[in-house]
């Protein structure tokens, strides 16, 4: 006998379904533990294992497939609680995240502005470099200024960096 475990970590609950040899799904549920996601997973697996009168370790040691799905990334974007991110782009293109036409349900509704970019304009940094459409160097990469920019990013306490080379 071997088990298939599927796990769905949502913002509030972590749901687990375990299917064994009999094909019958067994449900386990626990609160999502945001500080360490696995704690909630283990508790939910334990709840389902208890329904089958087994220990979580016994179930896990006889599991052949674990399927994981989560809304954590979606929730982070929707609630804007993602990492504080610096955006690094080619010199001359600081507005690339602002000049967009996406994110509205009705593109012809001109009274509703397009949503703000995920990274605010003020967290944008420009690097001196430029590639041509043929992949050759138009403006050489200025390493000294890049290091200076990186020092600024570190000093301002950013948690992540997005890079758009061009």
């Amino acid at each position: 006998m071997s088990f298939v475990i599927s796990i769905d970590t949502g913002g509030t609950f972590t749901d687990v379904v375990i299917v064994g040899a009999d094909g019958q799904p067994v449900i386990g549920k626990a609160l999502t533990t945001h500080d360490r996601i696995f704690n909630g997973m283990r508790e939910a697996i334990g709840a389902a294992a208890a329904e089958m009168a087994m220990t979580p370790d016994a179930v896990l040691s006889d599991t052949r497939l674990l399927i994981y799905g989560t809304t954590r990334a979606t929730n982070a974007i929707v609630t804007k609680r993602a990492a504080r991110t610096a955006f690094v782009t080619t010199s001359g293109f600081p507005d690339i995240l602002v000049l967009k036409e996406g994110g509205k349900f009705d593109p012809h509704d001109f009274r509703t502005p397009y949503p703000d970019p995920y990274i605010p304009r003020r967290q944008t940094f420009e690097m001196v470099e430029r590639m041509s459409s043929e992949g050759t160097v138009s403006v050489p990469f200025d390493e000294a200024r890049a290091r200076e920019t990186i020092r600024t990013i570190v000093a301002r306490g950013f948690e992540a960096v997005a890079v758009r080379p061009g």
Partner: protein, 228 residues
């Protein structure tokens, strides 16, 4: 159940796995992986060798993916090849399945062009059989099927007796005075048993309130059928 009554529904099905529906779906949905490569060509001057190489490359990458979870008795995977195609000079590419799954002889691109006309007709309600077709990107989609859901159990006739609830509680159903309400645990309920409201069914991961005048019957598969 009050929402159902407001909508004028007589019956609701509450699946046994309702409280963990996404996780339950993951048990049966195929594992899917997709790879894509950009390679521009046209039906007027089709690049057989180039497209053949691209498709071989896509299938090679997906085969590597399939060897991961595929080792443990999950055989029977399939690979579908698609082209992102458009009429020459247009901008809206449509996913068009390559019927044979590979570019062999002259027939394969012709079949792909025919398929594109059909896809364009279905999505935009117009086809342009005389126009050349451009192919921009090539995609391959791997699907590894998991176990099918268990076959539905043969249904049982509803029993007339109301079983024996675990206990009773005084509950309010909108009126000023409480109503003596039967409390059932999932162990108290067998398939076919009809629970008449007012009652509360306490499952391990969900609580089902059966309002006065309504009823809940468990099907053979363990789902609840609610009668409003």
């Amino acid at each position: 159940m009050l929402i159902a009554r407001e909508l004028g529904c007589d019956r609701i099905i509450l699946p046994k796995t309702a409280s963990a529906l996404s996780a339950a779906g993951m048990q049966y949905a195929s594992i899917v992986s997709e790879e894509a490569v950009n390679h521009v060509t046209s039906s007027q001057d089709f690049d057989f060798a180039g497209v053949g190489d691209v498709i071989a490359q896509l299938k090679h990458r997906l085969a590597a993916f399939a060897r991961g979870p595929g080792q443990d008795g999950m055989s029977g995977h399939s690979i579908e090849v698609l082209a992102e195609a458009r009429y020459a000079g247009q901008i809206w590419e449509l996913d068009t399945p390559l019927p044979a799954g590979e570019i062999g002889d002259e027939a394969a691109p012709n079949a792909l062009v025919e398929e594109f006309h059909r896809v364009h007709e279905r999505i935009f309600a117009v086809g342009d059989e005389g126009s050349a077709v451009e192919f921009i990107n090539w995609k391959a989609r791997l699907a590894i099927p998991l176990a099918p859901p268990p076959a539905p159990a043969v249904d049982v006739a509803p029993a007339q007796d109301t079983g024996s609830p675990t206990g009773f509680r005084a509950c309010y159903f909108g009126a000023a005075t409480p109503v003596r309400t039967a409390i059932y645990k999932s162990a108290d309920i067998a398939p076919g048993l009809q629970v008449r409201g007012p009652a509360i069914i306490e499952e391990p991961t969900t609580t089902l309130v059966v309002f006065p005048g309504m009823s809940a019957t468990m099907s053979a598969a363990g789902n609840y059928q609610l009668q409003i």
